[in-house]
Symmetry: C2
Subunit: 275 residues, 2 copies
């Protein structure tokens, strides 16, 4: 019989985002256990590691069973301190640094906080520029410099364009503009004129009518805008436009923002580089 609850600590000398990301992937593979997750970032000294031990001991003393500790810790002393706890400790760095050191014939530098540390200033400015570009080209607010976009998402209102664009900018430094397709476009039967010079950069997001109606109802309950009938009409018309212009597209209904962004970058062959 599996335990019903488990406490999982993500302990990192940096932000803990790496530990949490991989740890979360692993935990989703175990059904029927409720994981209480605790992230402890910036544990970069033996003292801070020692301060974690009572928290782990406290979790161990509950009915939840032995805690799990996932670590991304570079300093051997800090890591050893955590290892003295009664938890099952999974060490993400050490496990893979050793085979890599052997492969490269060199020692890892074991510098703390590299993974999400401040990168060099040029990289930072490029990322910030992508975010600013994306924000100022959200929802068709500006047609200026549309030619500078890496990709331009089109789709009906609330099809997921904005979160996807922001994610691409933040995570990958992509300049992602987005432009809504609205009833006027459907009546005219053509793309918004501002987009005509950039059809090769366009990528369409479509969505199931039920899902769209639910999302729109959160904003404007019981409006015509949110009605299933109107959602169906707009989606059908938008898909017709995408088809007519040969715009590649994907259906966002059952996809996460991460999956949508990854699919788009793959389809339009944009090289991605995670920050």
């Amino acid at each position: 019989m599996p335990d019903r609850n488990r406490t999982v600590f993500f302990i990192s000398d940096g932000t803990g985002i790496t530990a949490e990301t991989l740890g979360h992937s692993l935990l989703t593979q175990f059904e029927g256990i409720r994981f209480r997750q605790v992230v402890i970032p910036f544990v970069d000294s033996v003292e801070k590691a020692q301060a974690c031990l009572p928290r782990i001991a406290e979790a161990a003393a509950t009915a939840d069973g032995r805690p799990i500790v996932v670590t991304t810790l570079i300093d051997p002393e800090v890591r050893e301190t955590i290892r003295r706890s009664e938890a099952l400790v999974l060490d993400f760095f050490e496990t893979f640094l050793v085979p890599l050191e052997r492969e490269f014939g060199m020692k890892a530098t074991r510098a703390v906080g590299r993974s999400h540390g401040a990168t060099n200033s040029t990289d930072y400015l490029r990322r910030i520029e992508a975010i600013n570009y994306t924000l100022s080209h959200d929802d068709g607010v500006s047609n200026r410099d549309l030619g500078e976009a890496d990709v331009i998402l089109v789709g009906v209102s609330r099809s997921g364009k904005t979160p996807t664009c922001l994610y691409m900018a933040l995570q990958f430094g992509i300049r992602a503009a987005n432009y809504p397709l609205i009833p006027e476009d459907f009546e005219r039967g053509t793309l918004p004129p501002a987009l005509e010079p950039h059809t090769r950069k366009l990528y369409g997001l479509t969505i199931g009518a039920e899902r769209l109606s639910r999302i729109r109802n959160e904003r404007r309950p019981d409006s015509r805008y949110a009605s299933l009938e109107n959602c169906r009409y707009e989606i059908e018309q938008a898909e017709r436009l995408m088809h007519r212009y040969g715009i590649p597209s994907l259906n966002s209904t059952t996809k996460s923002i991460e999956e949508i962004a990854t699919t788009i970058l793959q389809d339009v062959k944009l090289e991605r580089h995670a920050y």
Copy 2:
């Protein structure tokens, strides 16, 4: 002598974000090697795995030395297909799933694409709501519903408020408003009146004058706004306001967006839950 270049493949049955995040952390520990990184997402069948093999073989045939392959692959057959390549294969999932299975006394479900798969609809809507809230409360555009913010960042223009807020919303589902501190506020010597009811939610971002001047110069070259002298003045005044109101703050100068966001959430004791 270490090799000078290495090709690293991140091969995943999902988005590849987990593989890339952990892999990138590991690679930053090896200095003097230039890594050519290739992400291959959505490898969820033996056929797709087989299609990766020629690409790995091609990299192996170059002067760069044996490629590294980092995988997050759940299906054993898919994984075995990749293992047949001539690369050094580091398997992030299998390595840790086995000890977890032993610990929990149960088998992992080995369902593909869980980590960044579409989560349930309520979670999705909450995340989208956080993004929308954050966008509509960027740069003080709206004072409405400021009470609903989880945190409100304050600081001079270009101190990093917007990227940090967007990151907190996207990555952690935090409703993060931000409000600029401007010369009028400094002359008056008080916070913008709209913020007065919410002082306990405020968090200050400050920044080095040289860095701020550089960032502002990208936008408005050679303006008074971007001048080092003006940057120094604004920062000093903003810090004085933060101090006067007892607003916790951090200096963003040498920090990445991830580090700033993590520090804020830790300081204001907001529970974080990564998407």
